[in-house]
């Protein structure tokens, strides 16, 4: 597996790893150098990478990936409550559970393709969401959301007065205050929390890169470009699709688990279909089918969400205070549509613009700029040659 990795890929991977690990320093100048935000970049980047394995490679547009995110979160919090505040068992169980859940949904949904597939996944995700809100309240704690509580007294075997955490109790862990998730004693908040997510992102990126370069990835691309032809040549595409679906479901489960690791809380709204729409958005924004695109898209969206939501009218008035009063009021009232509460409007517009003018996402945009630059350079070189001659 490692031997076949091409040199260019190793370079890409090395640069990616370096950028992620140095993110606290690199992103500090643009005001993003703190763990809460960088954590989000990493978690949603991972989610989008996984989604891209399905959507970017096979072209199957799932509108229900948030369900796997939700399953991952719930499973993690339950493991915190049952076993231990150590993150390792929680993460492993979440990924496996999300994978099983994806296997179930994928098996049914993948019998159809195109828009039917989108609607089937949407239906399943909405079903999970509605169930989490209503009947499954004993498991999901309904609207309040599932939370970690303090350890129950020794000998208590029900959840009435606190969590059990069998392993923690067996090892005699003493808790002070609100229980925090940890990795063998390292608290998963602040920078350690970010580096845990970053490690997950780097591993996820590497796996995605290997999948994309493998013959399996080639098969997935073939499905995207012409599924009929594959069927006619006697290839049964469904196992490949199902594998891709389950893998991307596991990525989503991992992302959900990390969300719960950094903040031990799980709510049903994570499974709503608008959340599924968000990951579609991130993937498209960055560039579906590319390796770096999804991470880029997720980071850009989370970054601007953070910036734009924080701006309010007072800030705008300060920024435009150099304008005459009347003009200033007009400018501020127009711009205030797009910031603060109106961030979603900006997002929607941005999304539409990307789909309309730049279907390949930011990666395509970067590619165009680079090629423009190259062409410009080639032209000027030619001009210079002409002068010399």
């Amino acid at each position: 597996m490692f031997a076949k990795t091409a040199r260019g890929d190793w370079l890409l991977f090395a640069i990616f790893t370096a950028v992620v690990l140095a993110a606290p320093i690199l992103f500090a100048p643009i005001g993003a150098g703190y763990p809460d935000l960088l954590q989000k970049f990493a978690i949603y980047g991972l989610f989008a990478i996984g989604f891209n394995i399905l959507f970017g490679l096979t072209g199957y547009l799932s509108f229900g990936h948030a369900a796997f995110l939700g399953v991952g979160s719930y499973a993690t919090v339950w493991m915190f409550k049952l076993l231990s505040m150590n993150v390792l068992p929680a993460v492993v169980v979440s990924v496996v559970l999300a994978g099983l859940f994806a296997l179930l949904i994928g098996y049914v949904s993948l019998r159809r393709s195109g828009i039917y597939f989108s609607i089937l996944t949407l239906a399943f995700a909405e079903m999970s969401y509605k169930l989490a809100y209503s009947v499954l309240t004993p498991i999901t704690n309904g609207e309040t959301g599932l939370q970690v509580r303090n350890l129950a007294k020794a000998g208590v075997v029900n959840f009435q007065h606190g969590d059990l955490r069998i392993l923690d109790r067996a090892f005699g862990v003493v808790e002070h205050g609100v229980p925090m998730s940890n990795l063998f004693g390292i608290k998963m908040s602040g920078w350690p929390g970010f580096y845990f997510c970053a490690a997950a992102l780097i591993i996820g990126f590497f796996i995605a890169m290997r999948i994309s370069r493998s013959s399996f990835g080639m098969m997935l691309r073939a499905i995207k470009s012409n599924q009929n032809r594959l069927n006619y040549t006697g290839v049964n595409t469904r196992p490949y699709l199902l594998a891709a679906f389950v893998i991307s479901g596991m990525y989503a489960g991992m992302a959900g688990a990390l969300l719960a690791v950094t903040d031990p809380l799980a709510g049903a709204e994570r499974m709503q279909w608008t959340a599924s729409g968000e990951v579609v958005l991130m993937t498209i924004m960055g560039g579906a089918g590319t390796l770096l695109g999804p991470v880029l898209g997720a980071s850009v969206i989370k970054y601007f969400e953070n910036i734009f939501s924080a701006i309010n009218e007072n800030v705008l008035h300060q920024v435009f205070s150099w304008l005459p009063q009347g003009v200033q009021d007009v400018v501020v009232s127009i711009l205030s549509l797009f910031v603060g509460e109106g961030w979603h409007l900006t997002l929607g517009l941005l999304f539409m613009l990307i789909v309309i003018f730049l279907p390949g996402g930011l990666m395509e945009g970067l590619g165009r700029i680079v090629s423009l630059f190259k062409r410009g350079k080639a032209a000027s070189d030619a001009a210079q040659n002409g002068q010399e001659a």
């Binding site: 072209g59 547009l61 049914v108 019998r111 159809r112 393709s113 195109g114 828009i115 039917y116 989108s118 609607i119 089937l120 949407l122 239906a123 399943f124 909405e126 079903m127 509605k130 169930l131 809100y133 209503s134 009947v135 499954l136 599924q227 279909w273 608008t274 729409g277 579609v280 498209i284 549509l337 509460e341 109106g342 979603h344 409007l345 997002l347 929607g348 517009l349 999304f351 539409m352 789909v355 309309i356 279907p359």
Partner: protein, 342 residues
């Protein structure tokens, strides 16, 4: 028996809304081949046309009455809507009937919005993959939603039904059952009747007029109709406008049943898509039938007897039915062969 009848009635008004939205979705899909995720937003825009019309009618003139004082010592304010001051009793009537009257406003407004949407955006997406169409209309839906949210706030805005429809009808007595066994709100009955009329009108338009005939021919074989020298594109644009009007009217009339907020459309959209798929992509009759069917099924599933058998079934019945239908009859209940087979 009456419990069953009551549930059927319960399903009819919700089913009416599903059927109207699904009809519009199918029209857009059957003619232009567009998967329109912004259709729910059109429903929402219709509802907010009613809201703004009501706001406009109830703009109040404030007169200070110095002869009377409030307990706090200020002069009493007498508030009268301008229309009442101008037209007297007719003005009062207009305020009372603001929801039905906003239909008159909604028709041109929604037609205009539909045509602009088609000419301005959707036209450029005919040849793009369905995924792109879904994504761009999804983005548009978010934009429309947020604009409405900016102007009307995030809270639901209740709209009154006309005064004479305020009570409930004793449906049981009409059917010869004992009095008071089946009592049902008037406005919901009206909504069902209204949706039936709109659906009948759309079908009549498509089946009985020359315009409709050309549109149906275009849905079957667009290229040949084009070769006959007919500007099929313009007609399809008008049909898209019509679909927008149908969704808008569904929204206008639904406001007294459910106070609209900015994301009311999204909730209906997901369900309506399921309805379209169950009915069969591209089949108008299927969309209507499935709309009512799922509406009624949903109200049956929320009966206590059934809920005690299968808890939570009322929440998921529609999705469950959709999943089963798609797996058993992939083409939907009345889907045509060759339409969106993959």
């Amino acid at each position: 028996m009456d419990a069953i009848l009551l549930q059927v009635l319960n399903g009819l008004d919700k089913g009416g809304a599903y059927a109207l939205i699904a009809l519009g979705l199918t029209l857009a899909f059957g003619t232009l081949g567009i998967v329109n995720f912004a259709h729910g937003a059109l429903f929402m825009l219709g509802a907010f046309t009613a809201v703004s019309f009501n706001k406009l009618l109830t703009l109040q003139k404030v007169v200070l009455d110095t002869a009377h004082k409030t307990p706090w010592g200020d002069p009493v304010e007498i508030r009268t809507p301008y229309v009442e001051a101008m037209f007297g009793d007719f003005g009062k009537f207009m305020v009372d009937w603001s929801v039905p009257l906003s239909i008159l406003v909604a028709i041109p407004v929604m037609l205009l919005i539909g045509v602009i949407m088609e000419r301005g955006l959707i036209r450029h997406f005919y040849r793009r993959p369905h995924a792109d169409q879904i994504l761009v209309t999804f983005g548009l839906a978010i934009v429309l939603q947020e604009i409405v949210k900016h102007f009307f706030g995030a809270n639901p805005i209740p709209q009154p039904a006309p005064h004479i429809f305020a009570g409930s009808a004793d449906v049981g007595a009409w059917l010869g059952l004992a009095k008071g066994t089946i009592v049902y709100p008037w406005w919901r009955l009206i909504y069902f009747a209204f949706s039936a009329v709109v659906i009948a009108a759309v079908f009549a338009f498509l089946q009985l007029t020359t315009f409709g005939m050309v549109v149906r021919a275009g849905m079957r074989d667009r290229e040949t109709v084009g070769l006959l020298g007919i500007n099929i594109q313009r007609r399809f644009t008008i049909v898209f406008g019509l679909a927008a009007v149908v969704a808008g009217l569904a929204g206008v009339m639904y406001t007294p049943i459910l106070p609209p907020n900015y994301h009311i459309g999204m909730e209906f959209l997901v369900l309506s898509f399921v309805v379209v798929v169950v009915g069969g992509m591209g089949s108008l009759g299927g969309a209507v039938a499935a709309g009512f069917l799922l509406g009624i099924l949903q109200s049956f599933a929320s009966m206590n007897e059934i809920k005690s058998l299968a808890p939570g079934i009322d929440q998921i019945i529609i999705y469950l039915v959709a999943v089963i239908i798609l797996l058993v009859r992939p083409r939907g209940l009345m889907g045509r062969k060759g339409v969106m087979e993959d």
